[in-house]
């Protein structure tokens, strides 16, 4: 619904329109540039193998077939991977957000002694890592190998997200607000729960999205931590294996190999893995509505 900005002066409407159109045009072009490659992948996923191999598929499927998707849905292990990915992502996001909020709120309070040091301690971890072997050894000694927790816990806390939230909280929760609450007798827990959280919905939604998408797309840690327990493989790991398998030329193995992963399957796996997470965004969007939260606090 086109709601024109209420107090736009009449005489500038003409200029407004031209700029408005140009902006709209620029956005449409950018969006097309982002959409078309995805359409291309979708087209590949619906095409016959022979044309995909020859790179003849551009934006429209050639030799339309749903065979690859049929294979995906028939394969129980892919559905299982999807399930694992969803659970892991949800847990990861919840735990990550809790940790981030618990750290960001105190650190955003200027009266906290040692604030700089503690922030630095967190910041430090963004740069220095022990490496994959010490990481593996730690997960091993904690007994978390081949379990879901090796995917949920180690990376759950992101210093990057912490710093973003901390600065956001510093600027959106002014000390005056906090002071008046404390004068009213509220402790920090109350303030966090009743004031900070409701006011920070946009940033919480944003960071939740970052956590969720980050976890959904990444598979490098699953590659090392999930070995024996085939059922626990997340979707992106499964996808990775499928693609690797399809490109391996089995050089050293001169036996008959049943290749079951042609190009089309690769494309359909990509679509299959991406669609769920894209669908999450519309639900987050309502938190980004302008000015909705300011009014809530005032009341």
């Amino acid at each position: 619904m086109k709601a024109s900005a209420g107090t736009t002066a009449l005489w500038s409407r003409k200029r407004y329109d031209i700029w408005g159109m140009l902006i709209g045009l620029a956005l449409i072009i950018s969006s097309l540039a982002c959409l078309l490659p995805f359409v291309h992948v979708i087209a590949k996923s619906l095409s016959a193998d022979a044309y995909v191999i020859a790179n003849k598929v551009t934006l429209w499927p050639q030799g339309f077939t749903l065979e690859a998707y049929g294979k995906i849905f028939a394969d129980k292990s892919i559905m299982r991977s999807l399930y694992v990915s969803i659970i892991v992502t949800v847990l990861f996001t919840i735990i990550g957000m809790i940790l981030t909020i618990f750290a960001a709120y105190p650190l955003s309070r200027k009266q906290l002694k040692g604030r700089t040091v503690i922030t630095f301690i967190f910041l430090f971890t963004m740069y220095f890592h022990g490496g994959i072997i010490p990481d593996y050894m730690l997960i091993n000694s904690l007994g978390m190998l081949d379990t879901m927790w090796s995917l949920v816990l180690p990376l759950a806390f992101s210093a990057f997200n912490l710093l973003i939230m901390k600065t956001a909280l510093s600027s959106t929760i002014p000390d005056s607000l906090e002071e008046s609450a404390r004068i009213d007798g509220a402790g920090h827990y109350r303030i966090l729960w009743s004031i900070v959280l409701p006011l920070s919905k946009p940033i919480i939604a944003t960071l939740s999205l970052f956590y969720a998408v980050g976890r959904w797309n990444a598979y490098q840690d699953a590659l090392f931590y999930i070995k024996q327990n085939v059922d626990m493989r997340p979707l992106q790991l499964k996808l990775y294996y499928l693609i690797i398998q399809a490109s391996e030329s089995f050089q050293l193995e001169a036996t008959q190999v049943t290749l079951s992963n042609p190009e089309v399957l690769k494309a359909s796996c990509v679509v299959f893995a991406t669609l769920p997470i894209i669908c999450v965004y519309p639900f987050i969007q309502k938190y980004f509505v302008q000015g909705a939260m300011i009014g809530a606090v005032k009341g």
């Binding site: 016959a48 193998d49 022979a50 044309y51 191999i53 020859a54 790179n55 003849k56 394969d75 129980k76 292990s77 700089t116 040091v117 630095f120 301690i121 430090f124 994959i132 072997i133 010490p134 593996y136 050894m137 730690l138 091993n140 000694s141 007994g143 190998l145 590659l223 090392f224 070995k227 024996q228 085939v230 493989r233 499964k238 294996y241 499928l242 690797i244 398998q245 399809a246 490109s247 391996e248 030329s249 089995f250 050089q251 050293l252 193995e253 001169a254 036996t255 008959q256 190999v257 049943t258 290749l259 079951s260 042609p262 190009e263």
Partner: protein, 551 residues
């Protein structure tokens, strides 16, 4: 807030936590459910002596339950659990239970295998066998001190059949720095890598495939292809395995020169045959006879795409019965016909169709330094059991009547799409029996050949497989294996990765330069290559050659 205070706090913290983790990290001896009895980390493989002879006799089983950990490649085949399936259970029943051994399979992800091994070794969870297909990496493992020394007599005692087959290979190639470390799986001489050519294109320009008996004739044909607007020869980026210069080498071979230059992992850019190869490639490139963007084709899919689309007329592949290249090409080019490129077609007049022979071994294996004497004996016994023809056959083919039926010649005919309980893995359980052999063999060479043909013949293209084998036999005498050094070549390890990348950069530059500038660019390339590590490699190798430390 003084920065000093911050820094000192941090450092103390790290130090403190490091100490903490040292307690957890430096002490992991057989934790997390690993039933490895305390390991004796010395390199000596002294066998257990017993009253009844030099080696303990376990033919009735081990007195105490032994855990045997066997590595197996994990390729993430759909629906296949590599550590627990019909065949692993069969092994446990037929072998493990018989000797009081717990057979456990440890999955090693195929394309991150080195990292996997390193992680397992660092946490002391590595399997009893440490393996790799490439000698340089196997040597690298050895260099990390993670392999025990072997006693050949022990192997002969526990695994006579296996030892009989592999004795000469192990004795020739299995020692490093004077220590006996490696044992091998067999690699029978067979190969199904071949080059396809578009027969219809050849005939369209008035030639015959059989007439392509030299590089010169091949290039002539390419010129005709170009004039007729048909297409170009296929090309790809040379990477990882360098066998491009064989056709340009002299025959007979100078053994020392060959040992110095010919190396699968490090390209011999500065050697004369390389120059000839590059000159030819440069000629082909500048005259539009070859895929102009060959350097972009860095994996099989990309190379195949050009052939399938009908842009290139040649394609190298492992010919198997289920390859999709024919149907895909026909879908895009309905008039296509195929033939095998004769072996001399890429060889200059006067040279021989030389090629690289595989070494007689497949998997290179070593025993984990933490493996106990009993476990090591169990390894030998496992190899022995696996080497028995009936066990091998079962592993490779499955249950008769279900997975396959025997045809008149006694060769198993696989039942298509069998999905029962005893289904084999997607590569026919290869990763299990690869510990003893790379390929299925039968009692007579003829039978083996026939079985190979079965595996390698795409339906409707029987002549192709026949031709491929015919050419393979014809060129047998010109196939020679590379030298294998019995000392570790430090410089090779040091520079290999960088030289690999550098070689690709340099040779592409050389090929893409105008013909008139070839000599200059090639000379520069040679100098750069030598300067960035190749000279040191050559020096090191020369020293080893002079000391006779190769075979």
């Amino acid at each position: 807030m003084s920065k000093k205070k911050i820094v000192s706090t941090i450092l103390t913290l790290i130090l403190g936590l490091s100490v903490l983790s040292a307690c957890t990290g430096g002490n992991n001896n057989g934790n997390s459910g690993n039933s490895n009895p305390t390991a004796s980390p010395d390199a000596g493989g002294t066998p257990t002596e017993s009253a009844s002879g030099k080696y303990a006799d376990y033919s009735n089983g081990f007195p105490e339950r032994v855990t045997l950990e066997i590595p197996v490649y994990e390729r993430a085949f759909e629906g296949w659990n590599v550590t627990d399936n019909y065949y692993t259970r069969w092994v446990q029943k037929e072998f493990g239970d018989k000797y009081n051994i717990d057979v456990k399979y440890i999955p090693i992800t195929r394309n991150s295998e080195v990292t996997d091994y390193e992680q397992l070794l660092a946490s002391h969870k590595a399997p009893d066998i440490i393996f790799h297909y490439d000698m340089p990496q196997a040597l690298a493992y050895y260099g990390e001190d993670v392999m025990q020394e072997l006693d050949y007599e022990e192997i002969a005692n526990y695994a006579p059949t296996y030892w009989e087959t592999m004795k000469s290979t192990i004795e020739q190639y299995g020692s490093v720095d004077g220590k006996k470390v490696f044992f091998f799986a067999k690699r029978p001489a067979a190969d199904n890598f071949t080059t396809l050519i578009r027969k219809d294109w050849v005939e369209k320009v008035g030639m015959k495939v059989e007439d392509l008996t030299s590089l010169e004739k091949f290039n002539e044909m390419l010129v005709k292809w170009k004039e007729a607007g048909l297409g170009v020869a296929g090309g790809s980026l040379l990477q990882n395995n360098y066998t491009y210069s064989y056709a340009f080498r002299d025959w007979p071979i100078d053994e020392k020169e060959r040992a110095l230059y010919s190396d699968l992992g490090v390209a011999d850019l500065t050697w004369e045959p390389s120059e000839k190869y590059l000159r030819n490639l440069n000629y082909q490139y500048n005259n539009g006879l070859i895929d102009k963007e060959f350097y972009l084709r860095n994996d099989d899919n990309k190379i195949k795409a050009e052939f399938v689309a009908g842009k290139t007329g040649t394609y190298g592949l492992y010919l198997t019965s289920n390859t999709d290249v024919f149907s895909a090409t026909l879908a895009n080019n309905p008039d296509a016909e195929f033939a095998i490129l004769p072996p001399r077609a890429q060889v200059p007049e006067g040279n021989q169709p030389q090629g690289r022979a595989y070494w007689p071994f497949g998997l290179i294996m070593g025993i984990n330094y933490e493996t106990t004497d009993e476990e090591r004996a169990a390894v030998w016994m496992y190899l022995e059991w696996l080497s028995q023809p009936e066990n091998l056959f079962f592993f490779q083919n499955g249950v008769e009547g279900q997975n396959y039926t025997l045809d008149a010649e006694g060769i198993p005919l696989k039942s298509a799409d069998y999905a029962g309980e005893s289904k084999l893995s997607n590569n026919n359980n290869k990763d299990y029996w690869a510990l003893v052999t790379e390929m299925a063999e039968f009692d007579t060479p003829e039978k083996t050949r026939m079985a190979h043909l079965r595996n390698w013949t795409p339906p409707g293209y029987e002549t192709l497989a026949e031709d491929m084998l015919k050419y393979y036999d014809e060129t047998a005498e010109y196939r020679t294996p590379d030298a294998l050094f019995s000392v570790i070549l430090e410089n090779v390890n040091e520079y290999k990765a960088d030289l690999n990348s550098k070689f690709q950069e340099l040779y592409v530059k050389v090929v893409l330069s105008p013909e008139s500038e070839f000599d200059k660019v090639y000379q520069e390339a040679k100098e750069t290559y030598l300067r960035e590590g190749y000279q040191e490699i050559l020096d090191e190798k020369q020293k080893a050659i002079d000391a006779g430390q190769y075979s």
